[in-house]
Structure formats: structure tokens, C-alpha cells
């Protein structure tokens, strides 16, 4: 475990990265396919894509890492009991993600207003409150969904006795990318439908 050789690092990393690749291509294809439609609803959609998917994966990674530690120290059993400890971790992530996506929403709206005189009409085809709510709802939901996947990944890794550091972060970030893109696209399309844009 302590000795670093090229072969050992490659052997540990490649299987997980192969799974990551499949999820990344799925996320990429979804982005590529929905981008034109999404740009009609909100022209600056690409501005928030990196931040949006990064927060989701990061926070699910935190849940995965914390739950793995709890499993190893015996504070949680394999059925995730006691539930109130699990719940405390999930509430913490819920609060962090709500704050982070609210901050992202405010920044995106501020940049949109700031860029409008330069780029011409780039306001979302609906109002800012709807844009803010779409970012917040999609972000928090994607984070919770990815975190639940992180939970089960933590249990699986714990049972198999592998090193959680080399499996959980890549898995949660890549699932977070996919779910982040899918949730924000669905939220914007839903708002677009409500306002008769698409």
C-alpha cells in the first residue's frame, strides 16, 4: 500500500477510470444533445455547467467519505443504523448544497445582468425567480440523489475491503456530473414548457 510503483498505480486506477469514462460519455452526449434546446430557454446555460456539476459530485463525495469513516469506526452498522447519525450527515449536506446552489443562482443572475449590455438580449426567456428556483431545486435534488448513490457505494466498498479513497471520489464525481446535467436540463425544460418556449 505504501510503495508507489508505476504498475501498481495503473492497476489500481484503470478499472475505476473505465467506469468513469462510460458515465462521462453519457453525460457528454446528454449535454451535446440538449444544448441547442437549453440555449433557447437560457442562453448562458454553459456558464453554470462546470460549477453546477462540480458542487454535486464534491458534496456526494463528502457524504461517501464520511459514511465510510463511520462504517470503519463502527459508529454506523451495515444497515446504516443508528439512522439519526446517517440523517445528521444528510441534513448537513442538504444545508451545504442549498447554500452553495443559492450562491450559484445569485452569481449567475448577477453575471447575466452584467453581460446583457455587452452581449445583447441574453435574459432567460422567463423571469429570474424561476431561473433561481430551477438552479436551486435541480442542484439540491441532484446532490441528494448522488449522495444516496454515494451511501450505497460506501457500503459496497466497506464490504469488499478495498481502499475507499480510490473508488468513492471518482464514482461520486462522475455520477454527479451525469445527474447534475440531467437535473438542470430537466428543470430548465420544465420551466420552458410552463412558459411555452419549447
Amino acid at each position: 500500500m505504501t510503495e508507489h510503483t508505476v504498475r501498481k498505480i495503473l492497476m489500481e486506477s484503470l478499472p475505476v477510470l473505465a467506469i468513469v469514462l462510460v458515465f462521462a460519455l453519457a453525460a457528454g452526449q446528454f449535454l451535446d444533445h440538449t444544448l441547442e434546446g437549453l440555449k433557447l430557454i437560457f442562453p448562458l446555460i454553459l456558464l453554470m455547467v462546470p460549477a453546477f456539476i462540480d458542487i454535486t459530485g464534491d458534496l456526494a463525495g463528502v457524504v461517501g467519505a464520511r459514511v465510510t469513516s463511520h462504517l470503519y469506526t463502527g459508529e454506523l452498522d451495515e444497515g446504516f443504523r443508528p439512522y439519526h447519525l446517517l440523517l445528521a450527515n444528510l441534513i448537513a449536506i442538504l444545508l451545504v448544497s442549498t447554500t452553495a446552489y443559492a450562491f450559484l443562482g445569485v452569481c449567475v443572475i448577477a453575471i447575466t445582468i452584467w453581460l446583457t449590455p455587452v452581449l445583447g438580449p441574453i435574459f432567460p426567456a422567463f423571469g429570474f425567480p424561476q431561473l433561481f428556483l430551477a438552479i436551486l431545486a435541480a442542484g439540491v435534488l441532484a446532490t441528494v440523489a448522488t449522495s444516496v448513490i454515494g451511501l450505497f457505494a460506501a457500503r459496497l466498498v466497506y464490504r469488499s475491503g478495498r481502499d475507499p479513497d480510490s473508488i468513492i471520489p471518482p464514482l461520486t464525481t462522475t455520477v454527479g456530473d451525469l445527474l447534475g446535467i440531467v437535473f438542470i436540463a430537466m428543470a430548465l425544460l420544465q420551466v420552458g414548457l410552463l412558459f411555452g418556449i419549447v
Binding site: I9, L25, A27, A51, N89
Partner: protein, 209 residues
């Protein structure tokens, strides 16, 4: 009594996680918004390239996974005393750098081929007008972006991790947030360079449906 203690313990846990995660996350949001503005720019200049965006999550993942785990291994190495600023480019450090580059090469070639296959499939099932990217384009763009970005990333990761350790700081707490926040900015900037190289070397064919 026990219940009350349990509750206050959980409240402490919730606020501790919140306080520890929030500052880094807010800084990350700002850095990622800058990366997003580069992505907007990329779209304005290269919107006619069909399937280009299939590569984007994969390329951003690549830097994340490879330089984050490099940062983690360097952190462990400095804790164990096998790697340090004073020992310079010794055998364990060279093995880590070499492995990071091998991974980048293998994964970016796989990503390029995968993205080409996906774009080919969707161009057959749901054709679009625009500039068709060949396998060679996908390979040059994926490999070029990944290699160029990794040269910057690996240099920054190694320097930050070893300097943090030399200054008596814990590399585990410092390297990953710094590397993660600037990673996407470097990747998208390198992606623009790689696209220009690819379409200059091999002009893509225009398809009108």
C-alpha cells in the same frame, strides 16, 4: 439525558461539516464560473463542430481523477517521508509523475475513441448540419487537451503539495481544493488550443442536411 446529549452531538456534527465545507465550496463556485465563461466563449467560436461537447465532461473528469489522486498519493508520500521538497525528483516521486502521465494518455485516447463512436452513432440516427469531426479530430483534441493540461496540472500539484509540506502545512488539506478549483479553467483553456490545432491540421468536412 442520553437523548439530549445525542441531539446536541448531532447538531454539532451538522454545523462542523457546514463550516468546514462552505468556504472552499464558495471559492470553487467562483472559479468554476470563470471556467463556465470560457466554455461560453468556446461555444460561440466552435458551435458548428458536431459532437464537441461529448468530450467536455470526460475531459474535466480526467483532470479531476488523475490530479486529485496524484495529490492524495503525494500527501501520503510526504506523511511517510518517502517524498519531500529536499529529496527532489527521487524514485517514488518519478513513479507518481510517470503513472499520472500514462493514465492521462490511456484515458484520453479511450475518451477520444468513445466520443467519436457516440457522435457517429447519433449522427446516423439523428443527423445534424454542421462540421463533421473525424476520429483523428477527436483523438487530437482529447489527447492534446489532456496532455497539455496535465503538464500544467502535474507541475502545479507537485509544487503545491511539496511546498505545503516543506512549510509545515498538511498537503491533504491544501492541494486538492487548489488543484480542483483551477483544474477546469486550465482544461478549457487547453481545449481551445487543441481544437484550433486539430481543425487547422485536418479541416473538417461540412455536412448540410
Amino acid at each position: 439525558m442520553g437523548m439530549a446529549n445525542g441531539r446536541s452531538h448531532e447538531r454539532t456534527l451538522i454545523w462542523r461539516v457546514y463550516r468546514e465545507a462552505m468556504p472552499v465550496l464558495l471559492f470553487t463556485v467562483l472559479a468554476e464560473l470563470f471556467a463556465g465563461s470560457l466554455l461560453l466563449n468556446l461555444d460561440v467560436n466552435f458551435a458548428s463542430l458536431i459532437g464537441l461537447f461529448i468530450l467536455i465532461p470526460g475531459l474535466m473528469q480526467l483532470r479531476g481523477n488523475i490530479s486529485t489522486s496524484l495529490a492524495q498519493r503525494l500527501g501520503s508520500g510526504t506523511h511517510l517521508g518517502t517524498i519531500s521538497w529536499k529529496q527532489g525528483l527521487n524514485k517514488p516521486l518519478r513513479a507518481n509523475i510517470k503513472a499520472a502521465f500514462y493514465l492521462v494518455i490511456i484515458m484520453s485516447v479511450a475518451l477520444g475513441v468513445g466520443a467519436w463512436l457516440v457522435s457517429l452513432f447519433f449522427q446516423i440516427t439523428t443527423p445534424r448540419s454542421g462540421l463533421i469531426l473525424q476520429l483523428s479530430h477527436f483523438l487530437i483534441i482529447a489527447l492534446g487537451t489532456a496532455l497539455l493540461a496535465s503538464i500544467f496540472q502535474v507541475t502545479i500539484t507537485v509544487t503545491v503539495a511539496l511546498l505545503a509540506h516543506a512549510r509545515g502545512l498538511d498537503p491533504d488539506n491544501i492541494t486538492i481544493p487548489i488543484v480542483a478549483a483551477i483544474g477546469d479553467i486550465i482544461t478549457i483553456a487547453c481545449l481551445m488550443v487543441a481544437i484550433i490545432v486539430a481543425i487547422t491540421l485536418i479541416p473538417p468536412i461540412t455536412i448540410i442536411i
